[in-house]
Symmetry: C2
Subunit: 352 residues, 2 copies
Amino acid sequence: MTTKLHRATIRDVAERATVSVATVSRVLNGSERVTGATAESVRLAAEQLGFRLNSIGRNLRSTKTQTIGVILPTLTHPVFADCLQAIEIAASAAGYSVTIATTSYDPANEEAASERLLRNRVDGLILTVANANKSKLLEKLDRESKPYVLVYNEPTGAAKHRPSVGVDNRLAAKQITEHIIAAGHRNLRMISGPFAQSDRARSRARGFADAVAHAKLELTEPLQVDFMRTDVRAQLFEAMSARPAPTAFFCSSDQLAMRAMHSLRSLGFRVPDDVSVAGFDGISLGEWLTPALTTVVQPTHEIADTAFGLLKSLIDGERHLGSARLHHTLRIGGTVAQPTTTLIHPTQKGTL
Amino acid sequence: MTTKLHRATIRDVAERATVSVATVSRVLNGSERVTGATAESVRLAAEQLGFRLNSIGRNLRSTKTQTIGVILPTLTHPVFADCLQAIEIAASAAGYSVTIATTSYDPANEEAASERLLRNRVDGLILTVANANKSKLLEKLDRESKPYVLVYNEPTGAAKHRPSVGVDNRLAAKQITEHIIAAGHRNLRMISGPFAQSDRARSRARGFADAVAHAKLELTEPLQVDFMRTDVRAQLFEAMSARPAPTAFFCSSDQLAMRAMHSLRSLGFRVPDDVSVAGFDGISLGEWLTPALTTVVQPTHEIADTAFGLLKSLIDGERHLGSARLHHTLRIGGTVAQPTTTLIHPTQKGTL
DNA sequence: AGGAATAATGTAAACGTTTACATTATGGGC
DNA sequence: GCCCATAATGTAAACGTTTACATTATTCCT
């Protein structure tokens, strides 16, 4: 319990227990059998010296770090925060540490972030990139055959081999759009994050288009809004000025849906009375809204667990195990309602 | 660009550039001056070999890891997720990596999480513990004089010396409670996370009591709800059955406020018509609600930046620089309104 | 009791850097 | 052209582990 200037090393422990460093290592790792008495005296010595194994020494020698890197666009979006949390829990249960990096949706940051992680010699990576089909970062990982698993991304075409875990975005988007159409809407508009920053958004737009086409309705170009910067309100004002005006919006994320509802309401439209809104993600906050948000629920927890499990297998040297499409569900809240047959355009309360 | 079985080391680079390893190290770290031509040839060799510095070797030698550990109760709560994100941005700008751990509000996990981080030899820690005054973990960090900075925690008494960054919880709670009282409420109730798991909750309860006492109103015991487990609805039903029934709730977090509003509404109470609700934190989602949540806004970003700056100073060996109380603001939304003079108790639509 | 098989422990060489210290090259003043 | 100061580079020893291999102790047969 004496305060030492420099921490005790394995050598100090060995000396105190009058034993070799190898034995100490063996005891502390439970790797090979050691006589009970010896083990006990080692443990005692370690305890007395306040010894704590230095992972750096171990990592250097074993060229494994028991650490994974996680790269996500942001933690401001609950979907990613929750996912990260679940990954952390799974990882620490398996004895892994988690080092994080966020990119703010900027591919340039993906590069810098990954370099930092790779210098730290993480054993593998779990990440969401802007575009899983065309990514400098993923090419690098492939080239160096560094284990990784994508989450939420849905690589296609030539990139289909890239291991990924997520839902079938296109199908899910199609289904929730069908739900909106089934409620009676004929003029739908999608609100999406920037396609350049999110391949998910693109897949969801495709699903939206599928449903619209199948119902033989007119397809309007998705409204792309920048997550972080722009004022959604102005864009929505414009969208609502179109004739015929949309009676329902499908948003590419719950966060976007919440912002859209906020803006619509501040423009004088009631949700869902005047205009319906649906989201995508299934963040728990959405349930606590009144009315609750109608949305697609992604199994965040399962995605995280599956991704970590997959990554662990890859780290352990198993050959490519494929990707996983997990089941989504629709959560029918109260934000999608029948459209009013004759929509009286409300007074524009808000000024722009 | 040739795929190497094992990554190139600094020695390979030295050999290829016909130069010593020391020179390579110097070039790659820009630490000492090296002739331009030599530097160029080293860089070229490194490039050709696809060399990437191995932090582990460096860490071992320098006994610094350029990594900080962050321990938080959860990432499910946007306040912590946002804070972590801001910490990560500040850290990476300063060349630091961030390794995370979550505790699910359980002090037992604090112990395990910190051990993992300390084995990894993080240079310092930013953390939120259950109780900053009485914490095994903090005692350990003090004893080992490992740099750390608390966020959100507000150590008092004998623990006052512990570096921390946050707002004045007691004052902030008092002020927002005063706001509720000023709206005309006479029967207030606090809804709090478990005191045992959050010293913030305790401080906020004290501030609530301050305001209530100052207005000469009757103080009721705070309603403690377990963040993760319990069904808030049943507890709220009971709370609303008291006579006189509370007309306003002050919640110790925004998340709790949202859940409370949801439960109250499902029990048939309108917010804010029948009952007012205020929160604490200032998560951005709160602004997007309709009506917007009335709450205390903590400057999350600033808290994170200040904490990291403080930690960096401590790591760099500066002597104790004290703690920081940052400014909070009230965000007046629409969830707190005048109480109805004669409250007609609504039919209990919900069944328990 | 003697020896073979096996279990327990020890020895020492990595792992990939950084950095004191030693050495060699360069340039300037006379 | 020589010497000295100074700049550039090299040498080799750490940093704290793990682990292949070598050695010693123990056990079990016969």
